[in-house]
Symmetry: C2
DNA sequence: CTAGAAGCTAGAGTCATGTCTAGATCAATG
DNA sequence: CATTGATCTAGACATGACTCTAGCTTCTAG
């Protein structure tokens, strides 16, 4: 079952532009074939790959890394070790991302509130006690207040 | 305790360029003050904010969104509802990211192997049975093979 | 007083990841 | 046969988030 670039675009969710771009970037395992009139022909396996590809992309794998991987695939059997290592590295990367995101959630829950209190108190402080700044310089090099100054 | 831009850069992990850039982009709650000689003065609370900021960034919050948030903070109390909503939206975004990353891990575990099998079989197929392609056109418009052709 | 480090501004450059345009070809249709 | 729509190529443009440069000032140490 042959597929045109338009069909692949529709089914993969990528634009035809992106598909041509991916091809230029060498992201297809099998170089995309052409009809005698120059038009690209895709097959189901390309869609499968694009689905994986999109998933990897959305997890933050760069096109450069995906290309590295697909280059190994293109070289054929024998380098499974390297492929695995590459994927493992990304897997670790993904795990780290997840951990960091979890932490960000905590930050958002706690720290942001605390920070807002800081700001609120800071504002109040400045409103009521504008003399708490000068520390580095005696007199002429004090900070010039911006909005409150004039 | 006043801090120069260099000190803040060192302690925040951001470059001095980035700090000036962030300022231009309006990412500081309190506009950065200057000494009479024009140099920026930062304080501990700026470092705290930058820490949060960096966390939000690393979780994929865009500078634009961070700016929206900090603008609400700048407007002072009264819009806590909006701030919360903004953070909640990002929180959901982060959750979605985590879910997607988990799924990506599964994909990497399973699908990639399967895909590689496909490719392997596909290659073998083509090597041993080069007649399985022509489907759309009778004869003159068959695909022109690329590497194997010549 | 002078050299070197650190700051300043405005604006140009970079990188990744696409998106869009122009101008041409080709296929199907009224 | 003319139009419409899908495709092609090469290359320009866009965006986000920085990064770097040029040219100048200012601080600090010797």
């Amino acid at each position: 079952m042959d597929l045109s670039i338009g069909e692949v675009a529709e089914r993969s969710g990528l634009s035809v532009h992106a598909l041509r771009f991916y091809e230029r970037e060498g992201l297809f395992a099998n170089p995309v074939r052409r009809l005698s009139n120059g038009r690209r022909v895709y097959h189901e396996e390309d869609l499968e790959w694009l689905a994986i590809c999109t998933k990897l992309r959305s997890s933050g794998m760069s096109l450069a890394l995906i290309r590295q991987y697909i280059e190994l695939v293109r070289q054929g059997p024998g380098n499974e070790q390297e492929r695995l290592e590459l994927l493992r590295r990304h897997e670790n990367h993904v795990r780290a991302q997840i951990a960091e995101l979890q932490e960000t959630l905590n930050v958002m829950r706690n720290k942001v509130r605390i920070y807002e209190d800081h700001v609120a108190r800071g504002e109040a402080d400045r409103l009521w006690n504008p003399t708490h700044r000068p520390t580095t310089e005696p007199a002429p090099d004090q900070e010039c207040p911006r909005s409150e100054g004039a």
